[in-house]
Symmetry: C2
Subunit: 484 residues, 2 copies
Amino acid sequence: MFPVSAKGFKNPRIGAFSRTATHHEPKIFNPATASQDFQFFFYCQRLDHFNYKPESYSTFQQRYVINSKYWGGVNSSAPIFAFLGEETDLDYDLSIIGFLTDNASRFKALLVYIEHRFYGKSIPFGYSSEEAMKNASIRGFFNSAQAIADYAAILIHVKKTLLAKDSPIIVIGGSYGGMLAAWFRLKYPHIALGALASSAPILYFDDIAPQAGYYSIVTKDFKETSESCYETIRKSWSEIDEVASKPDGLSILSQKFKTCSKLKRSFDLKDYLDSMYAEAAQYNEPPIYPLTILCRAIDGAAEGADILGQLFTGVVAYMGNKSCYDMDQYNDPTDRWRWQMCSELVIPIGHEKNDSMFQPAPFNLSSFTKECKSLFGVQPQPHWITTYYGCHDIKLTLHRFASNIIFSNGLRDPHSSGGVLENISDSVVAISTVNGSHCLDILPAKTSDPEWLTLQRKNEVETIEGWISNYYSDLEEFSGQTQA
Amino acid sequence: MFPVSAKGFKNPRIGAFSRTATHHEPKIFNPATASQDFQFFFYCQRLDHFNYKPESYSTFQQRYVINSKYWGGVNSSAPIFAFLGEETDLDYDLSIIGFLTDNASRFKALLVYIEHRFYGKSIPFGYSSEEAMKNASIRGFFNSAQAIADYAAILIHVKKTLLAKDSPIIVIGGSYGGMLAAWFRLKYPHIALGALASSAPILYFDDIAPQAGYYSIVTKDFKETSESCYETIRKSWSEIDEVASKPDGLSILSQKFKTCSKLKRSFDLKDYLDSMYAEAAQYNEPPIYPLTILCRAIDGAAEGADILGQLFTGVVAYMGNKSCYDMDQYNDPTDRWRWQMCSELVIPIGHEKNDSMFQPAPFNLSSFTKECKSLFGVQPQPHWITTYYGCHDIKLTLHRFASNIIFSNGLRDPHSSGGVLENISDSVVAISTVNGSHCLDILPAKTSDPEWLTLQRKNEVETIEGWISNYYSDLEEFSGQTQA
C-alpha cells in the first residue's frame, strides 16, 4: 500500500506489494498451472454483517485457497496459518508471499489464503470492479470492518469443515493486510491466536503519526544512499519549474523525459518522479536495492549532464530502457484503494517543509474531502478508524490488554513512520530491522538474503512458536471444563 | 432480560430489570422533577457505522445523560462511569440503577448514562417504536454491534467535549446491558478501561450453556425455598390439563384464576404461571424475597384448598389482590426484544425433562425460525454472536487476552446459568453470590441489604479501584512517549 500523496489523488500509489520497476516484476500466480497443493474455493459470504434488513441478507462468492500439504492434522491440533488478503487480487499474493509456505513444514501448518472483498474474484454479485465501484449502494459495503468479519466467517467455516476445533490460527498480512491482521487479532481473539502484522502503519490515522513521516523517511533513505543523489533531486524541482516556465518548456521536458504523450503541466512529471522515488525507497530490497541503482545512475550521469539529464538517467536505470515513459503509470483513476481512502482509511500524508528533498505540499483535509465528494459523493470519515480500532495511546491502552501480535517493520520503509516500533507488552511486540524495506519478512526467503532479514524471520517464527506452545498448555489445562 | 421460553414467543419476558409484581414497582424517573444533577443531551448518531453508501450517512438523535456533581475533573484525570443502556427506556434505568450514584463520590466519577438505540427517546428519525419496528429497512440497524459502536461514538464525544482525554472509563451494564458492557471492553479496549457486567448471560449462545439451565435454576430456587411448594407446582400442570379437558373446563379455570377474559386455551394460563414463577426466581430480592412470599402463600393455602386453589392463593400474594388477572401480562406482541432475539440474539432456552418442576418443552430452532420469519420476514442468525464476540472456550481464548472485566452473578438468578462463574484470569474475574438474584449488585445499596450483597459490591468497587490505580501508573509511565 502506498499513501495518498500531498496532491490528493493525483498520485494514489497502492498495492501492498506492488512495484513497477522491472527489477522486481513478480510472476502472477496462475491457478491453472499452479501446484496441485493449492485448492481454490468460494465461500457464500454475507454482504452485510451488521444489518438485518432483508436486502442485507444478500450473499456473494468470496474466494479462498487452502494448502493442506504440510498440515499435521486434527489429532495433533496442528496450527493454521491464514493470510488475510489486502487491496489486491489473491493470485498476486499467492505469487509473492513466502512466509506461509516457507514455514508450513516446520509448524505442520495448514495454509489458508483469503481474498479481500471487492478484489480479484471476490467482487459481489459477479460484477466487474468498474460495475461494483460505480454502484453507490454496493460499494458502501466495501470497508475494513466488513472485511475482517468476512475473514472471521471463513476461518470458522474452514475449522468446522475440517473438524479442526482445537487448531490455533495465526493470521498474517502485509501493509494494509497487516493492519487487518493486527485488527483481526484485537477484534476476533477467539478466532486468531495471534497475528503477524508486517509493515502495518496503523498509527497513520487521526494524526497519531506525523504527516511528514512518510516522505521524511524517503528523504533519509536517499540521503543515506547518496548525499549527492539526494542533493540533485532536492534541487531538481525548481529546475523543472524553471524549464516549464519557458516558452515551449513543456515540450522540452517531454523530450528530455521521453514522455509517451506531451506533458500538459509540469506537475505530472514531478508527480511521476515523486512516486518513483517513494517506490524505490519503499521497495528497496536486497539483493538488488533499486534505490542504489537509481542513485548510482543519477550520480554517474553527473559528468556532462545537467540536473534533468541526471534524473532521466535515473529513470532509465530504474524503469528500464523504454521507448517512452508513461507519466500516468502511478495514476490509475479506477483504483479501488481510492474508495477505501475516501471512505474510512483517511491517511493524512503530506510533504512538509522540514529538510525534505521534496517541494512542500502538506496534506489538506478539506481539499481531500472535496475530491472524495466529487469522486464518490461521500464524506470521508477521518475519525472512524480510531473509533473502531483505537491506536491513540496504543501502549497505554494495550499494555495490559491483548496479546500475541508481532508488528514487524523495516525502518527504511517509509511506511514504518506509521508503524508500531516499540514493544507494547511481553507478547505484543515490535520486530524491526534497521535496513529493511516494505513487507520484506513475509516475502519468500532466499539464499541471498542478508543476515538481518534471516534473523528477523527467525525471531518471528520463534515468537509464534512460543504463542502456540502456550496455547497447547492452556488447551490441556482448560479443555473439558464447562466454563473453559 | 428474560429468556424466550420454550414456547417461542408466547412468553418473551424481557426488560433487564423489569418485574411485574407489586412488591417492587419501580418509580419511573421523571426528568422534569428529577435532580438538577442529571443533564439530558442528544447526540447526532450515525444510523449505520459499517457502511459508506449515501443512505447510511443518515443520523438520528440518541439520548444520554450526564451527572457531573461528583466529578473530580480533568486535572486529576478522575474517572468516568458509563452505564450502557439495555432493552428499555433510559428513564427506567435512571430510576433503579444505584451503582453509579452510590460510588460516584468515592471515585470522584463523572456519570454518563446512554440509551440503547430503538428504545426510549432514541428511536431513529423520531419514529414511534411501532413505526420503527414495522419498517423492515429501519429495524435492520437495530442490533448489538451497531449499539456498542453508538456507545463508542458518544463516549469519545463526551471525553472530547469535556477535554477529559486521560479520564479512564468504566462501563457498567446489567443483563443484556451487561453483555454489552463485557463486549464493549473486548471490542473497544481503547475507550473503556474496564467493565462491570452484571448478570450477563454471555454463554447462552450456540448451546454453550445447557438449554435447560435457566429453568433448572428456577426449579432449584423453588425447591430450596419450599419442597412442598415445589411439589405443588410440579403436580399442578397435569391438574390444569385435567380440568381443561372437562366440558366447560376452560370456564372453570377462568373462574378459579379470575382471568380478565375467558381462557381460550389452558396453555395461556400455564404460560402465565410459568412466567410468574420464573420472574419470582429471577427477582427474588432482599428484603422482601417475592419467591418466599409466593411459596408461603401456596403452602399456607394447603388446608382446605385443592392444588389449583393453592396456586391461585400464590398468584394473589405475588401479584396483589386484583379484580382480575391479565393472562397477557407477560405477553406483549409489540416487544422490541422479540426483534433482537429473532435477528441475532438467538437464546436457546427450553424446558427439558430433568427433574424440572415444569412440563417438558425443549427449545426448537426450526419452529423458532418459522415464527421469526412470519413475524419479521428474516432468518435468525444463531451463530453470529459467537462469530463476532466469541464465548466458546472462553477461558482458553481470553486467559491470555483481555483484562479488567467483572462478571457478577447471583447464583439464584436463573440467568446465571449462562453467566461466567469462574475467573478467566487475574483481571477477568467472576464475582458471584450464592444467594443473589438478577442484577442485585447494581441496584441502589440499602441499609437492609444482607452482608453478602454488601461484600459483593465492596469486592467490585475494590477491583475497579485496582484497575484505575494501575491505569494511573501506566499513564505516568507511558504518556509523552511518541508511541505510548
